[in-house]
């Protein structure tokens, strides 16, 4: 079946502009995660969704970052007033997250490479 997809694959923007990054998880996966991969910070967790709610937003680096998920499926990560330090690859992952099943495997999308000029 289809894997996790993300769009756009590449995004170049000017400092101060807003950007939206999209993630389509694997069909039926209830859990969705956003991570960021940058040269200075490695791979870091941003936010976790279970269904449409986000019980853990602890990784969002500032209030310029927000995310939502609708219909228990697609998620959008929005970065307002982008800064050069936001340049990174943004990765989305999804998992089944069945209750009592233990730790599920997270399947990753190809990422969106964001460059802020």
């Amino acid at each position: 079946g289809a894997g996790v997809s993300q769009s756009p694959s590449n995004k170049v923007t000017e400092k101060g502009k807003d950007v939206e990054l999209r993630c389509d998880p694997i069909s039926g996966h209830t859990a969705l995660y956003w991570y960021r991969q940058s040269l200075g910070q490695g791979l870091e967790f941003l936010i976790y969704f279970q269904g449409n709610s986000a019980p853990d937003k602890s990784g969002l680096p500032s209030d310029r970052f927000s995310a939502e998920r609708t219909g228990g499926s697609v998620s959008t990560l929005t970065i307002q007033r982008t800064q050069q330090e936001d340049s990174a690859v943004y990765l989305c992952a999804s998992s089944l997250r069945l209750a009592g099943s233990g730790t599920d495997t997270q399947y990753f999308g190809p990422g969106t490479r964001l460059t802020v000029l």
Partner: protein, 114 residues
């Protein structure tokens, strides 16, 4: 809190020789541990995972890892390296509770010498 330490940022081996990528973990709870691989310009792919069943875990492409609680280690091995194994490898830990967010190591770049 949980964390992983990958002891080598770069490992080079000759084709056909064994591979050893080292990882130590720290977790307050019973951890789940993973190895992911990232080939150049490709997404992250799961190699194998440990979730408190057998301590020796076999993964794809001939890789395996052994969970050693006494040493808090989860080293990745392969008996014979192939050119296609050249990639970045990440050791990852997830607490066995809560939201299961992944905490990644800093990665080990594996180079295969022909």
């Amino acid at each position: 809190a949980q964390s992983v330490t990958q002891l080598d940022s770069h490992v080079s081996v000759s084709e056909g020789t064994p591979v050893l990528l080292r990882c130590n973990y720290s977790s307050s709870y019973s951890p789940s541990l993973f190895w992911y691989v990232q080939h150049p310009n490709k997404g992250l792919q799961l190699l194998l995972k440990y979730t408190s069943a057998a301590t020796l875990v076999k993964g794809i492409n001939g890789f395996e890892a052994e969970f050693k609680k006494s040493e808090t280690s989860f080293h990745l091995t392969k008996p014979s390296a192939h050119m296609s194994d050249a990639a970045e490898y990440f050791c990852v830990v997830s607490a066995d509770f809560g939201n299961e967010k992944l905490t990644f190591g800093t990665g080990t770049r594996l180079t295969i010498i022909p």
